[in-house]
């Protein structure tokens, strides 16, 4: 697409203004990870890595962070396994695949509040207590749609002759899956894993319904809202954003289509 110069200047100004607003919160957090404030006044002489040092000593936050990583890793594992299973079923034209797809997309399409309370009610009817396990189930179902969609898209782009060749050469279903399909789905699996982990890491609305005594980081932060945040939260958030942005950039670079020239006008 192209546009005239004055139009581009107006549009560009709007985009820059939006970026300022979108990154405003980030800037505030980043700024206060180095400075302290007292009664809303910045203490300029307090500059330092103090809040980063205190973060390393805050056990309750580090525990919540650890829980979040474990829940995220488990949710990613289950979502990839189920996503691959369901994508293969759909691709091989299994019975009722449209109904299956509808069910998979449901928790992703509905407002998280409905997914959260449905699972809460369901677990109580089953007599299961809330814990990190119930949170993991919630996260798995939430990110499943994403993993499934990404895996299915790549599966459909693979040539059918790959699988046929594998069968012709005498491989059974499992061998074909392991030696032919999974290696060819590597990019999709990696992309899905990173995106699913990012979603799980920040998931708050479903988690608030499903946490028991041990909480994940967003839930912990929610609990701290009323008393206000300690400075080490700013340090933690700064580190998380830097880490996730780096991870995201790495993946974006990896999955960038090399054949298609992005520099083309």
């Amino acid at each position: 697409m192209s546009a005239s110069l004055p139009a581009r200047i107006v549009l560009g100004a709007l985009a820059v203004a939006s970026l300022v607003v979108l990154f405003g919160p980030l800037a505030v957090v980043w700024f206060f990870s180095f400075f302290r404030q007292r009664r809303g006044v910045v203490q300029w002489e307090s500059f330092g890595l103090d809040s980063y040092a205190r973060l390393l000593k805050n056990d309750s936050i580090l525990t919540a962070l650890g829980n979040t990583v474990v829940v995220g890793a488990c949710a990613v594992f289950f979502a990839l396994a189920l996503g691959t299973l369901f994508a293969l079923y759909f691709h091989n034209r299994g019975h009722g695949r449209q109904a299956q797809q509808f069910m998979i997309f449901l928790p992703f399409l509905l407002p998280p509040i409905i997914t959260g309370l449905s699972l809460l009610i369901f677990f109580r009817e089953l007599g299961l207590d809330r814990s990190l396990i119930t949170v993991t189930v919630g996260h798995t179902l939430f990110v499943l749609a994403l993993a499934y969609r990404i895996i299915l898209t790549q599966l459909q782009s693979l040539s059918r002759s790959l699988v046929e060749a594998s069968y012709d050469l005498g491989a059974n279903r499992l061998q074909t899956l392991w030696y032919v399909l999974l290696p060819n789905l590597r990019t999709a699996l990696l992309t899905a894993a990173v995106l699913a982990f990012a979603l799980s890491f920040d998931e708050t609305l479903i988690s608030l319904f499903l946490v028991g005594r041990e909480s994940t980081l967003p839930v912990r932060l929610w609990g701290m809202m009323r008393v206000g945040f300690s400075p080490e939260i700013n340090a933690l958030v700064t580190l998380i954003v830097v880490f996730s942005a780096a991870l995201f950039l790495a993946v974006a670079r990896l999955v960038r289509p090399t054949g298609e020239d992005l520099t083309r006008p």
Partner: protein, 278 residues
Amino acid sequence: MRRGAWVALNLGLPAALILAPFAAFLVHSFWRMDGFHVVRALSLHNYRRFVSEDIFLPLFLKTCELALEVTAIAVLIGYPIAVFLATLRGRAKYAMVLLFVVPLLMSYIIKIYALRSILGNNGFLNRLLVATGVLERPTGFFAYNFTAVLITLTILLLPLMILPIFVSLERIPRSLLEASADLGAHPAYTFWHVILPLSLPGVVVGASFTFILAIGDFITPTMVGGMTGFTYGAAVFSQFGTAFDWPFGAMLSVVLLVVVVAAMFLAAWLGRPRGATA
């Protein structure tokens, strides 16, 4: 594996993990609380309460309006930005698109918290307006009210509006734009008759994301809403917390579900493929 077992696994797992909780939620909305006990008998008790008490229906309508306003503002700001991204080239385009993705990576709670500290009575925005002489003294207009919820939700959801529109703009074949120009169309005419209709599916996807997430959110209103910014989502959540009436909370969510499903059908209808394909 036998064929039957394979089918059972593939349909049974989603049914047990997704459909069953969903069914439990629907059934729960027909149960009711008696003191601290759930009465497991079907009745329309909660539905009658919803219609007869004049708290929840007005709150629901107010929240629908809020979600529509957030969506409308996000389209009006997001569409031009998506157009701008689509006009960029090469590395600049790639970098700018990434810049609009990064805010999505930042913790939801923290973003709201930071926005609250910017919009608050003592916040950055008020100080800026006072310092530049726009206001004489700080205003309470931006925080702990309905406007604050509107502003915060719009900022939080804007990237989700921009990205689908950008993708649909990128999918428009260049040949169509060239053909339009070759046939003597003014760029404004091309935009209005070629680009805009072909990018509508992206607008519809972005709008439904924004609407669905805005209408069901309970964190933003709780954190920046104050007294006037209480929304339907927050009312639902309180039934599972302080109010402790799960069946009524489930019933309130059924109403939410109906609106969301209606919105999805509308979106599917608006985004349907039309006319000759490119």
